[in-house]
């Protein structure tokens, strides 16, 4: 329990995901766009895409395990489902939208979390700069990578939705209390949508945007900030923990992000329908366009979100949580972290021999 408290917020956080210590930001934004799910803290206009194969159809076979886990997360997130297809959609979206942060594991599995945070391979799925995305050009290449990843996942979702019903399922592992991990069959179009939405949602917490939040001013950097070899002129703004708090510091940004999510989901649902017009690129153009000429030299074109983006920046992890870095993170019991980490490390080393 001490470890949980010490490590909150976790190292791989973007918009926060549901854990015992963090808010379900990604889940709430993604759920706000799905038919049959009510109670999101980011409510929007009612969905107009019911019946799209992007979501499970009404005759989808019932699975009691899926239903049970969906009801568990509904209670923890604070939403309700109106039917079993909505439960399946919710669980598929839940797993997909958490995948870039925890993959198939638990947020408490540090040996899964560490490589997620410390390698370039995953930065694009969080809409962050990779180590080679430097200078003004780095904003362009990082945003392109982010957009490509979203497009790829949405294309897979659409292709999967065009298959026969029984072929639209994918096996995935979910980590829940007491059972540790459980294998479930998810509805792949919605699961892939969730993975795309995670990255799209992160494009609001991991970039500095114009005052109206439509254009991107600069893409943030986690990997160099954590490594200790960080130069803002070269690497861009350091990833800010404050920008991840959708119900606190970034509460002015999150509803706009949720609205953009609904726009993207609507476009994807329409594109999934036979003969539907594909407006996904237009939506991505609208929300993922870089405003050129903004950097540290001109205070990022005086974005009103700059002050939030400066709060609680990432630093090398141990100094950050121990409170001895340049920017102190709000951690309640830092030294106990070391006490807990040492036995974990020893156990892991012995296990690997």
């Amino acid at each position: 329990m001490i470890l949980v408290i010490c490590l909150t917020p976790g190292p791989a956080s973007a918009w926060q995901i549901l854990t015992a210590m963090t808010d379900p930001c990604h889940e709430q934004m993604s759920f706000s766009a799905v038919p049959g799910i009510t109670g999101s803290v980011f409510p929007g206009e009612s969905a107009v895409y019911s019946g799209s194969a992007l979501f499970p159809p009404s005759d989808v076979p019932y699975d009691g395990v899926v239903s049970g886990i969906a009801e568990l997360i509904a209670g923890d997130i604070g939403v309700e489902f109106d039917s079993y297809p909505a439960e399946l959609a919710a669980l598929s979206l839940f797993v997909g939208s958490r995948y870039p942060d925890v993959m198939e594991g638990s947020a408490y599995d540090f040996f899964v979390m560490r490589p997620l945070m410390l390698t370039d391979a995953h930065e694009d799925s969080h809409c962050l700069r990779r180590s080679w995305d430097d200078g003004r050009d780095g904003d362009v290449t990082a945003l392109d990578a982010c957009r490509n990843l979203i497009g790829t996942q949405l294309r897979i979702a659409i292709e999967s939705a065009r298959l026969g019903l029984e072929q639209r399922f994918v096996r995935h592992t979910v980590s829940i209390d007491f059972y540790v991990t459980v294998d479930v069959m998810l509805y792949e179009p919605t699961y892939r949508l969730g993975r795309a939405l995670h990255t799209f949602e992160d494009s609001f917490s991991h970039t500095l945007r114009t005052d109206d939040l439509v254009q991107v001013v600069s893409v943030m950097n986690s990997i160099d900030a954590v490594s200790g070899d960080f130069d803002e002129d070269r690497d861009g703004l350091a990833h800010s923990l404050a920008m991840d708090r959708c119900m606190d510091d970034a509460s002015g940004i999150a509803p706009v992000a949720a609205g953009a999510v609904r726009e993207l989901v609507t476009a994807t649902a329409v594109a999934t329908n036979p003969g539907g017009v594909d407006e996904i690129e237009q939506v991505l153009d609208r929300w993922l366009t870089l405003k050129p000429g903004c950097d540290r030299g001109n205070d990022y074109c005086d974005s009103q979100w700059f002050e939030i983006a400066r709060r609680d920046p990432y630093e090398p992890f141990i100094p950050m949580v121990l409170g001895c870095g340049q920017n102190v993170a709000p951690v309640m019991c830092p030294w106990l972290l070391l006490v807990m980490f040492v036995p974990l490390g020893i156990a892991r080393i012995r296990r690997s021999k």
């Binding site: 329990m1 549901l18 015992a20 568990l72 408490y108 829940i176 007491f178 459980v182």
Partner: protein, 208 residues
């Protein structure tokens, strides 16, 4: 074999050796555990704790389990009540325990966990200051999980390789099991719900 497997193996081997050694010692004349002198730091002996009904109330906690990489998942704690009859070396008992489980994945909280009901056997040695015990019986789920309903019944096994007992006076003793091993498995169908716990247990025993 993983860490849990090795620890379990060690505990089981310790239990077997402890029980065998104690049984042999009990066969030797003049080495009845009840006749051993009290240790300097013990205010009483085990003499009055034999050939009697005994009752034990214990508290246990488990911070170590089979998902040590994912701590604090599956932490647990609880209490138990034991009642039984003890001869010189051997004792039999009935045990009821509630083992409560901590939720931590999505929400911090405590669930009702399981009720474990079992029959057990204990072997006493080192003048009654140490004992080894095993208990087994049904394990009943007390709350609805995401997958299983309350009332689901499986089994539990509690193995305590070496526990300690400090007699306080002729009728009361404090007991401590620094490390014991329990399998709690209230659901075995579909997706098995099986927890392996390494427990520390503190108790209070009296005889009548």
């Amino acid at each position: 074999m993983n860490v849990s497997g090795r620890v379990v193996s060690i505990l089981v081997v310790m239990t077997v050796f402890s029980a065998c050694g104690t049984a042999l010692a009990a066969e030797a004349p003049g080495e009845c555990p009840s006749q051993a002198p009290a240790f300097k730091w013990a205010p009483a002996t085990f003499d009055t704790f034999t050939d009697k009904v005994f009752l034990t109330v214990e508290l246990h906690g488990s911070l170590l389990n089979d998902v040590e990489d994912r701590r604090p998942m599956s932490d647990s704690f609880g209490y138990d009540v034991k009642a039984g009859w003890r001869w010189k070396t051997l004792g039999v008992f009935f045990v009821f325990e509630q083992n409560m489980w901590v939720t931590s994945q999505f929400e911090l909280g405590v669930t009702q966990g399981v009720a474990n009901i079992g029959l057990g056997l204990e072997v006493n040695y080192l003048g009654g200051y140490a004992r080894t015990s095993v208990a087994i019986g049904p394990s009943i789920l007390l709350f609805d999980t995401a997958i299983d309903d309350a009332g689901n019944t499986g089994f539990f096994l509690d193995v305590r390789p070496i526990g300690m007992r400090w007699p306080i006076n002729r009728f009361f003793a404090i007991t401590l099991d620094p490390m014991s091993f329990a399998i709690v498995a209230p659901a075995l169908d579909r997706i098995p719900l099986v927890m392996i716990q390494f427990r520390t247990t503190l108790g209070f025993e009296f005889v009548m």
